[in-house]
């Protein structure tokens, strides 16, 4: 299993890193078509990244190591998450460490790094973006950890491969009310974490409404390419996580290479479906005001709390 395990980890990272820009391109394309446009094509984010990587790097006056390191750390942290989450295979060399809480914390590390970079520029927009991003990140945390709590109850562990393998063995779990509530709460948290509508508008040009974009206004060239790649990978990996938790079928629990290939293909299909749904939903929704976001997150927090309590009374009592 070990050889396939290593291949599986490498394949997960490669698929997330290579596929994330395509996912963004695909979502923009879906949106464009629904808006009656032709769209720039699915590979456009890769063209953007290639161009940005070739451009000249710029260090604005007064910025320091935090500004330079943040994009690298953002991408590296997300890549580590992509290696840990059992997107394609549950039995990998890292499956012992693939803890859901660790995954959440590693993603938060990227947010913190970027917020510090925003403050490091010392511009009004950088600070504004950092302040808003950290506010949202702080409020998302309870929801996301409670949802984690809820999905980990049936498996009795926060170890992701154990959760996924358990769900594959007991398919009825995915249809349990607690699991559905938890996934719903997780989806809202994912929208907030990745800065999608209705929490943030990734396509905005208006500085005063920006959250994520305001932090990165000073980045240019290769640094900007990494920041964009990092956000795209984050979206891909979180959608992959939701897909893997809600519909784990196809994730390879054995060691056969053919199963792994099938699992990767299914992963791409599942994430593409989720991406399509998300892009389509964004056409129908507008960004909410910044101070309405806590209400949204409070709603999702209640869902997660119901999921945990429900899970206790449904599976916990029944299992005893």
């Amino acid at each position: 299993m070990s050889a396939t395990g290593y291949v599986a980890v490498a394949a997960q990272v490669a698929v997330v890193a290579g596929g994330a820009p395509l996912l963004t391109g695909w979502m923009r394309q879906v949106r464009a078509r629904l808006e009656g446009r032709a769209g720039a094509g699915v590979v456009q984010p890769w063209r953007d990244a290639r161009k940005l990587l070739r451009k000249e790097p710029v260090s604005p006056t007064g910025t320091g190591p935090a500004f330079r390191l943040a994009p690298l750390l953002l991408v590296a942290g997300t890549a580590v998450v992509a290696a840990l989450v059992p997107l394609a295979a549950t039995r990998t060399p890292v499956s012992g460490s693939a803890d859901l809480i660790l995954v959440v914390a590693l993603l938060a590390l990227g947010t913190v790094a970027l917020a510090l970079a925003g403050l490091d520029t010392g511009t009004a927009f950088g600070g504004m973006g950092a302040s808003r991003e950290m506010t949202i990140a702080a409020l998302v945390e309870p929801t996301i950890l409670l949802a984690v709590f809820a999905v980990s109850i049936p498996a009795g562990s926060t170890n992701l491969p154990a959760i996924v393998a358990g769900t594959i063995d007991h398919p009825a779990r995915t249809a349990s009310p607690a699991e559905l509530l938890a996934v719903a709460a997780l989806v809202v948290a994912v929208l907030a974490e990745t800065g999608r509508i209705p929490v943030d508008n990734p396509a905005t040009h208006l500085e005063l409404t920006m959250v994520h974009e305001a932090m990165v206004l000073e980045y240019a060239g290769p640094d900007l390419a990494l920041v964009e790649l990092g956000s795209q990978m984050r979206l891909a990996v979180l959608l992959g996580l939701v897909a893997t938790l809600a519909a784990p079928w196809g994730v390879a629990t054995g060691g056969s290479p053919a199963l792994l290939a099938l699992a990767l293909a299914l992963l791409v299909a599942k994430v593409a479906v989720l991406g399509t749904a998300l892009a389509a939903a964004e056409v129908f929704r507008a960004k909410v005001r910044l101070f309405k976001v806590p209400e949204l997150l409070a709603g999702s927090f209640v869902l997660a709390l119901l999921a945990v309590v429900g899970s206790y009374f449904l599976t916990g009592e029944a299992g005893r």
Binding site: T61, G64, L73, M134, A138
Partner: protein
Amino acid sequence: MNAVGPALAAVGGLAVAGALAGGLAPARVRPLAAGLCTAGLGAAGVVAGAAALGGARYGVWLPGLLPLAGVRLAVDPLSGLFMAVTGAVTVAVAVYGVGYASPGGGMHGGRGPGDEDAAGSAGGRHAGSDAHEPRDALAAGGGDHGVRSRGAQAVGPVFAGAMVLVPAAGSVSTFLLLWELMALASLLLVLAEHRERPTVRSAGLWYAVMTHLGLVLLLVGLALFAARAGGESFAALRAGAGGMPAGVRGTVFVMTALAFTSKAGLAPLHAWLPRAHPEAPSHVSALMSAAMVNLGVYGLLRVGFDLLGGGPAWWWLLLMGAGALSAVYGILQAAMASDLKRLLAYSTSENLGLVVLGTGAAGLFRAAGDRPLAALALAAALLHVVNHAAFKALLFCAAGSVLRATGLRDLDRLGGLRARMPVTAGLFALGALGAVALPPGNGFVSEWLLLQALVHGLAVPGAAAAVVLPVAVAVIALSAGLAAAVFVKALGVGFFARPRSAGAGRAVESPPAMLAGMALLAACCAALALVPGALGPALTRAVRAAGVGTEKPLADGELGVHLAHTSAALHPLWVALALVAGTAAVAGLARLPARRRARRRDARLWDCGGGAPTARMAYTATSFAEPLQRVFDDVLAPEQDVDVTPVRESAYLVERVRFQRLVPDRIEHRLYRPLLAAVSGLADRARGLGGGSVHLYLGYGLFGLVAVLAALVVGW
């Protein structure tokens, strides 16, 4: 023969020697002599603690040392853990303190650490007011008062020695004696800079009153316990606790828990902490925040688990409630604070809240009969005590360096220190990484363990668990999320970007002794973050000594953390290596597409085409916290005041707008103010009793005597 006895003797001896050195040595060598003694006693404390953690038990009765009860010492692994932590913090802070008290300071013109204006520390924060410069206070360089004074230098070693020895106490009288010695010594140290700032005196008063109310509670509680148990040594208490009625046990627990949680800085008894910690000299703040508050937790564990032998679920639910309240309230107040040291003090309230939350969970699991899980929860709480001590001492020391170099602790006026004090900024960043509970920091490991204990706790029978545990998880998550915002603010606003005042612009790096002390703490943080598994056996012994569980909570012989009875595991070293390797790989791969090696160009900040952005346009700590303040408006209830002055000619033309916002400590407002008003009203009325007539007073004496005699005749 084990090493605990000689090491404890060394602690006592060095404390006395340090006090003498601090009191008698000439001013030039005073900080060095006292600092060396303090560092030595800290090292002895580490030796004693490590020996005790290794399994050595030690007990001694010295009847000649004190009249009546004598001094009784008893050391087990639980005491060992707290002694080792206190000792380690003491060593590093003593080294730091030598530099902190050295003359000069980073500022021109011999400004001392005391020189910072009171506006930023007056309990609230101000927004939008003009950025006035710190006034040139009298330099603390004279050596007659402040941290370099004879008194402060003599009391420092006593404080450290008392803290190291408190966990070694083996009887009620010895414990109370050392406890009070520690409290009095810390009070004197808090007051060290009372001539520089009037706020110090008010902080000292609050601290003195609250710590002594705590002492009274502790005294009554433990005296009741000792009277019922028929002996005052801990062994006698332990033996007698089983036979006591539930009501007495509950009373003892509640009274001591109130005192101990107040010492630990838990809401709602925290009011002294955000006053005293910021106003104390910074190395004293570090000792108080990283070592002294832990002893409150030690007291809870010693009395609650060991001496009383555990109790019913409601004890522990009470503790969990207090822990959850202070975790969220502490970090919310920290998020609003723009005074760096006040922010760190409230963060202490938060972290100790998490520790007590874990302790409460351990008691709850123990009461429900799940010993392995209780052991896990307690191990998590103890590990968090260790982690918090490491990073909080580092953070307070770094804040002290900033204060010494700039004369400022108001984040709104700091900034740009990354370029001027790069080592301090890097060390602060390391401490902040520990405090935000994100990998690869050390705080993450213990919070992860705590979450694991709570997540697995749902298997515990009882509907209370099903409601309390999810809420506890949410509380930890919210406090972790807010802590991230808090320390992004502290680091990003305080150290990054450009200086927002002349004081921050003139900062220079701290002297080597201070950097060395901080580097020691940073090394501790790094070791705890990367190989927490090394502490596994020690934690197991401490948990066993507390009488919570006999099973190992953590598997032995691992670098990472592996829960002994579930599949959960965390390997921080590998995570850190993966992050470093990933960062290097991304940096390498990102260079590949470039056709030629493009040089990194320095460019002016994007200013939207207008003039270069000034430091006043940068986000301040106040503006950074504004969205959070609005979200938690109902909880924080800020007081806002807009004052518009029109010009003389017309009411419609505005000459000046003054805006002021204060975020008061709401618990203090709602709980303490009415209480203080009532006490003060009662005192006013009581004044009428003292008319000045001797006959009246003789009459009072007669009536008092008759009342006592009557009570004796009727009652007994």
